[in-house]
């Protein structure tokens, strides 16, 4: 079956552009949820770290008006994080791996800040909160360190620029949303060594080489036939 490379690339581009607003929306809700959790936690820590409202008992510390924003932020943020992974194209920039460190390091900072300067005290520290700060710093910092330690530039490139075309893309949870996955039905594409994503990458590289003048039209056509036909002329 013949595949038009230009159409293939154009379809991948359109798929990615269609997913862009959804990626923005889901990531926006994730960040909103993180921010609400961080800010409401600070409000609650200012009044001692706990509160209660409603019920038959008289609470010593009534919850502030903003308290309900924290559970709402956590629940919606978590659902949005899952949705973000599902809608974002596999090769696009991905901030997902930063979310866990962002959550634990930001909340850990609250524990540290209020542990060193406990509200209502002139001096001294709150060791209960400082222990929480250490635990949260480890939980958020260790994964971040592990991701950055081996190949920091490659990791940062993956986060801010996306998966490189020469690298096999990560397997998405929903393969049908991955760019170029819709071409899996083409037999010649399936015959290619790494699957359809490799075909797209190879075609993109060929296109760039042709535009740069490194390949003559004849060489480009021959190479294209090899990519699409898995080496068969």
């Amino acid at each position: 079956m013949a595949i038009d490379p230009a159409r293939l690339l154009e379809t991948e581009r359109r798929t990615a552009i269609r997913a862009l607003p959804w990626t923005f929306l889901t990531f926006f809700i994730v960040i909103l949820g993180l921010t609400l959790t961080y800010l409401v936690m600070r409000v609650l820590m200012t009044i001692g770290g706990s509160c209660a409202s409603g019920g038959p008992y008289a609470s010593a510390r009534q919850c502030p008006d903003v308290t309900w924003l924290m559970p709402v932020g956590i629940v919606f943020g978590a659902f949005a994080a899952v949705a973000y992974v599902l809608v974002k194209p596999a090769r696009a920039p991905s901030f997902f791996s930063l979310l866990w460190p962002a959550l634990f390091l930001s909340l850990g900072w609250n524990f540290l800040d209020f542990g060193l300067h406990p509200p209502g005290r002139k001096a001294g520290v709150d060791w209960g909160w400082l222990v929480c700060a250490i635990v949260f710093a480890i939980m958020g910092g260790l994964p971040l360190f592990a991701m950055l330690a081996s190949k920091p530039l490659a990791y940062l490139r993956r986060v801010f620029w996306g998966v490189d075309e020469t690298t096999p893309p990560p397997r998405g949870i929903m393969p049908r949303l991955r760019p170029a996955a819709r071409f899996e039905a083409a037999p010649s594409a399936q015959d290619a060594p790494g699957g359809p994503d490799d075909v797209v990458s190879a075609l993109e590289r060929l296109e760039r080489l042709r535009k740069a003048g490194a390949l003559t039209p004849e060489e480009y056509a021959a190479a294209k036939r090899r990519v699409l036909g898995g080496g068969r002329e």
């Binding site: 690339l9 991948e12 581009r13 990615a16 552009i17 862009l20 990626t23 923005f24 990531f27 926006f28 809700i29 994730v30 960040i31 909103l32 993180l34 921010t35 609400l36 961080y38 800010l39 409401v40 409000v43 502030p64 008006d65 903003v66 924003l69 932020g73 974002k88 194209p89 090769r91 696009a92 920039p93 901030f95 801010f160 620029w161 996306g162 075309e165 760019p179």
Partner: protein, 33 residues
């Protein structure tokens, strides 16, 4: 994936971070009165 699309995704992520933080601050201020 073209460079233009990658840049669009990067900008969308950065915009979501800025707007998400701003919306969070605004919401807490508004609800907290």
């Amino acid at each position: 994936m073209t460079n233009g699309v990658r840049i669009a995704y990067l900008v969308a992520h950065l915009a979501a971070i800025v707007l998400g933080i701003a919306a969070g601050i605004g919401l807490v201020d508004w609800v907290g009165g």
